[in-house]
């Protein structure tokens, strides 16, 4: 929660940074650290279930087509994936652990609204 004092100090910061031509310092980097993360991404979350049994499936690889990021669904079939912001997302669900946790067919689904959790049912192979 920002106090009036904090707001005042932020204004002074911007003013002094501009006057010293060091406004770049607002987004600093520790000398032995990595750059700060100021990028924009979105969170896609949901649950993977078996279409046949309606039970959650663990170990399904979830990723957005043509993007590097991926996650696996957990023991409750839940997943949370961070990816770059876009207008829509072609999310792929792929069973890559052979017969562990059952064998399921790959499925794609396109989503536009990332604010809602998605539920996906996979058919057995």
């Amino acid at each position: 929660m920002k106090t009036t004092n904090q707001r005042k100090q932020k204004i002074i910061r911007k003013l002094l940074g501009t006057l010293s031509f060091t406004s770049a310092l607002f987004v600093f980097q520790a000398c032995y650290g990595m750059p700060r993360d100021t990028g924009i991404d979105v969170q896609i979350r949901g649950t993977v279930k078996s279409a046949k049994t309606n039970l959650p499936i663990e170990g399904i690889k979830v990723y957005v087509s043509n993007h590097e990021q991926y996650v696996f669904s957990d023991g409750s079939g839940n997943f949370v994936l961070y990816t770059e912001k876009a207008d829509s997302y072609l999310v792929k669900f792929e069973d890559i652990d052979a017969d562990n946790n059952g064998a399921f067919a790959t499925k794609d689904t396109t989503i536009k609204n990332v604010y809602n959790s998605i539920e996906v049912a996979l058919d057995t192979k």
């Binding site: 520790a30 650290g33 700060r36 990723y63």
Partner: protein
């Protein structure tokens, strides 16, 4: 120094004062492991493959940062996961995911040795937004410093993956030493040819394992050459190259970096070390430890302690006591001060004025 430059520096001093008074925590190091898969000659942490200290459990760290959530806005703090080598933690993606869930951004500092395609996708999927990769020269000199024959090829493999990512804000760092200083132009050419966007150059501080190896420290002429190299490379604008914020560099201030020197240790930067110690940057002397997450509240320690980082008048001693540059430098980087606080370990400004 002309009046204009002097005025800019004075405003920067007021800026620094305001930042110090405000001391908003923006950057939190987490030394999550002391294990490392390399045995680098210059390691400031003196890490090893089998560290005596166990990795810090994720839950312990999460519990310690919980109070920060009430005081700082979502995504305003970046957690720098460091080590040791953070990629050795099997639960690194889980660590990242839990941090994002709690409103913290995160990134890693890595040697890239264990960074393959699977690791890249997994960490990116867990919301990693930034990364620093070490490449310390051309193949032979990198492998010498990193003490492993495959370290260069693995780091280059990591670079190829990272630079393609649209999401990850990254840079490459090079520790400049007596062996690789003659290669700087070739390294730059490689990075420019490979579309690397940001390159940060360090010198090696005489701390940790590096303190006993004279081949790692630049002499005065080499340091001046490094400043000239960075300054002229910045004018070319082929790559965003800069000197790290490790020290004040007198006449090269603003020529080798985007801004003036400002050591933010304890002002905007804190760290949680492997044993739970709360400090500023992890590479500063352990005598600067301010508390411990297992006995203290991190937010209270941040707000009520860290006084010797926020009032650095104690650094006006030894060679700093009569230095004309002190008002701009204010004792340099905190990592150049050891337990007795009697003398700065190294002064680059003195290096630059040596003939």
């Amino acid at each position: 120094m002309n009046y204009f430059e002097s005025g800019r520096r004075s405003f920067h001093n007021y800026f620094r004062l305001n930042e110090t008074r405000f001391h908003e925590l923006n950057y939190l190091f987490w030394e999550c492991t002391r294990r490392c898969n390399l045995n680098c000659l210059h390691c400031g942490s003196d890490c090893s493959k089998t560290a005596a200290q166990k990795d810090m459990p994720l839950d312990d760290f999460l519990k310690s940062i919980e109070p920060l959530r009430s005081y700082y806005a979502k995504d305003s703090i970046t957690v720098a996961i460091t080590g040791g080598e953070p990629l050795l933690r099997g639960d690194l993606d889980l660590c990242g995911k839990e941090l994002r869930k709690r409103g913290f951004r995160w990134g890693i500092v890595t040697n890239g040795f264990a960074y393959d395609e699977a690791m890249h996708g997994k960490l990116a999927g867990a919301g990693m937004g930034s990364l620093t990769l070490s490449i310390d020269g051309l193949e032979e000199s990198h492998n010498w410093l990193r003490n492993h024959k495959n370290s260069y090829s693995n780091a280059i493999g990591a670079l190829q993956l990272i630079k393609k990512s649209k999401r990850i804000n990254y840079d490459v760092v090079t520790c400049v030493n007596k062996r690789n200083i003659t290669e700087l132009n070739d390294i730059k050419k490689y990075f420019v040819d490979n579309d690397v966007k940001a390159w940060r150059l360090f010198t090696i501080s005489p701390i940790g394992r590096a303190s006993n190896n004279p081949e790692l420290q630049l002499d005065a002429a080499q340091f001046k050459y490094l400043m000239e190299f960075i300054s002229s490379s910045r004018k070319e604008k082929k790559i965003d190259v800069k000197f790290s914020c490790e020290s004040f560099v007198g006449p090269y201030e603003k020529k080798v970096r985007d801004g003036y020197f400002f050591c933010r240790a304890g002002i905007n930067i804190a760290s949680v070390l492997i044993d739970g110690s709360i400090s500023a940057c992890p590479n500063i002397d352990r005598s600067f430890v301010q508390g411990n997450i297992y006995t203290d509240d991190l937010f209270q320690i941040w707000n009520q302690k860290f006084t010797e980082m926020r009032d650095r008048t104690w650094t006006k001693t030894g060679m700093c006591s009569n230095c004309k540059e002190y008002k701009w430098c204010q004792g340099g980087g905190l990592h150049f001060w050891q337990g007795n606080r009697e003398e700065i370990v190294k002064c680059d400004c003195v290096n630059l004025s040596a003939r």
